[in-house]
Amino acid sequence: MDFDKRLENQIEKDIQHLRRLGYAQELYRTIGGFSNFAITFSVISILSGLMTLYGYGLGLVGPFSIWTWAIVGLFQLMVALALGDIASIYPLAGGVYKWTGRLGNPHVGWFCGCFSLLGWLACTAGIQFGMGIFLTAYLGFELSPLNILMITAIIIIAHSIINIFGIRLVAKITDFSVGVHIIGAAVLVGLLLVFGRNNPLEYILHVGNVPQGMLLINFIQALLMSAWTLTAFDASTNVSEESINPSKVVPWGMVFAVVCSWVLGSLLLLSLNLSLPGLRETLDSGFPAALYVIRTALGTTIYKFITIFILLAQFTAGLSSQTVSIRIIYAFSRDKGLPFSHLWKNVSPKYSTPVYSVLLISGATLLLCVFAPSLHIITSLSTIGLYFAYAITMAVAISERRKIQLNHGPFHLGRVRLPVQIISLLWTIFITVIMVVPPIGQGGKVFLLATVFITFYYFAAMRKQLGAEFKYTLE
């Protein structure tokens, strides 16, 4: 049987599977295995996340912050495996929100979806804000809040325009993004290790001037750098309904993306730390730490060149993140899970994109950037939202493990399912708690406010609806 015929048969099988899950095929199934991996890989975006928060980790525990990456990478691989196990059963747009709704009940699903949406919103804002800082520095403007905000606003507008008018372009940019990340990271790591090395290998054990007894607390706080970067790998699940053979490619896409990012990220942090001109000097430079290291170690011309890759990576990551957020809003409003759902699910017949959803996401991310006092707050909020949603998913998965066992898809964990799920649950709860509880947590207040609002809205509008209409829609 030739390739096209096999492809047609597979797509037909996927459509049947979707129908069995209660939905009609509305979106085109065109995304293959590589593109699926590409979406997750570019949202994780080591060139965006790690470079943005490198200075944050450095300020807390010096070059020792590289070890946060090792720890987070290991546990996040567990989470990716556990989520992949469920994604293989429910290849639906909406990701964790749909899974928990189906494994548990619509009420839990709705709560999980709200926190996931909050996390994705903040994730998008964090990437865009981070790029705003880098671009301001790159263009030679003063790093004042107003300048950064204006540049960030331009980035948000650019992302929104692409998402409204060029949905086909988004797919191409996402594929291109993988090349940018891999080539950019490989070139940067190679140049830093060959030409920029200033420190011996033991330097990665150096913790800087941490006050007595504060090492553990600082180290836990520094986990944010890695925890924020190596997350959001449920991105590819949101395009499940557009993927070919999603039960297989979505879980593998997530796992491969985490492993690749883990390896490349380790090399990137290692090369930056070994090229560090001086800890104090870097932190006091008034420049983004990662860019300062590159400029000092490799000279101005190469710095200007390599930063183009970093900015491109940040731009594509922000675009992918915004696209995923739009899909979540769309999936949510399709089930009437949001106020004014009829507006957000409206797809423009001219551009085939949910224009109002794009505007909602753009407005929300811009507001977050305006009112959040720093990048750490935005990234903390994103980490809390995403990890808490994972925690809810893991808890539901453990309680409904028999359901998973009986219906497992082509990607499944078999006997190690329960241990992996328990480790993932404990890990995600741990990260959520440390991001919320002072003195380490900085996003507690905002998170509390969001939780109060979500709960209030649940009791005011959703409880009844979830009990009747919403449940019907899901099943």
């Binding site: 090349g179 080539i183 070139v187 030409f195 170690a297 490799l298 000279g299 011309t301 060149f305 183009i308």
Partner: protein, 495 residues
Amino acid sequence: MVIYVFDGQKDKPGLFGEIDNEYSLNESSGEDILITPKIINTFLRNHGLNKELRAKHLFAFGIGTVTTGFYTQWNLGLGTAGPFGVLAAMLIVFWFYLTFFTVLVRFSVNYPYAGGPYAYVRQGLGSFGGYLAGTATALQFICAAALVLIIVRKYFSLIYPELPGDYLALGIFALLITIHIISIWFSGIVQIFLTGSALSGIVLFFIGSYDTGQMNTLIEGPLIFDGWQGILAALPAFMWFYLGMEGITMSAEETRKPQRDLPLSLMLGLGTVFLLSLGVVYFGVVSVDGSHLKTVDFPLLYILSQVQSQDKVLLAAFGLINIGVFFTSINGLINGSSRQVYALSRAGYLPNFLSRMRTKHQTPFLVVIVPGLFSAIICFTGTFQTVVMLTLFSAMLMYLLVIISYLKISKSNLEIPYESRVLCHPLVLLFNLGLLVIGQISLIYHYFSSVWVILITYFGVGLYYYFWAGKHIRVEAPEENAAVSVQKKVRIEVK
């Protein structure tokens, strides 16, 4: 069932007057009378290439092949023309390639075969014309690969004298040949990566030199040296920016959507090269003294070493990128020469065993190895001047034949996208023919001492056709079949 039957008429006279296909009729066993679709399908099953390439691979093969032209040779054109003479020469070369590529686009979507120029010329000028265009193309690509290898050896001896340059050059060359044998898809991926690095190098050059240039360098001194003679003399130097990009057409059989991807990659590649060449020449001219620049072997490295002499990391990194650039070109040239030799061998002009395939990935291996060996031998035995002469002469001969063939069959109303009547107008093409003739004369005049190489080579090519190639043509080959079915046969529907 459709059966193609000879109409009993002999072929029209070929380019040099002999009767084409006469021998093929006698040589083929039975298939000379009836070439059924079944025979053609069986032939293609045994000799067909895997369709694994997309526009991005073609673009990388096209741009990658010519990247060496940005890093070397173009500066030779500065000496004779002056700043505005250089611009005029660049525009003339671009105009020529724009019209030539438009012709190639027209041909390539109608005859998407591995033979490329051989297939196109075969349609209009008969089998000897096709054979001549094919061998000229193969020679162009084989010699160009040898030329780049010579440049690599020179580069190693100048920049990294402590390294065993010859062994390194041959080692990497052998590695690229191996990759090509493994699979064309793999080779395409490698080419994308290499081309990305080469283009990054050009961007790095722009960043390193953009704020160091002096605009007034452009208007100091005469704007055009030596008048139109200076411009004419500068033309061959700027041909290096584009020479070999036509190799894209020879990947037609391995392209998933040739009707879309071939025109797209050819025209996008051409536009990209033109813009990059303007940038490279502009920053080159305004950054350093032109009288020195025209004498150096590696102009971009030289310019950066002058304007960023303090930045050791930049120079070291750029030096490494240069090596990658040369092998990007070589990888593209391997693709071009192998596919052309493959098509000639498949059609019987060259020994048939050359087109033997690896069964797993349907990749021909001997057509990669044998031209590669020739390139390596030429690199170590030929002089730079001789190899340049043979490359340029072969390229211009092929261009000439393709344009003549196009003019001859242009009345057949080929249906082609990206149609441009202006660019393919006979007067425009006749003007181009004039340019090519002047170019050939100018080449012979400048390298007169090496003319004997051309004479001997092409005399050998002619003799080989007369005694062997012309007697072994296989009409089942797609290029031959297309030509025969269009021009020399009638179609009979048999129920």
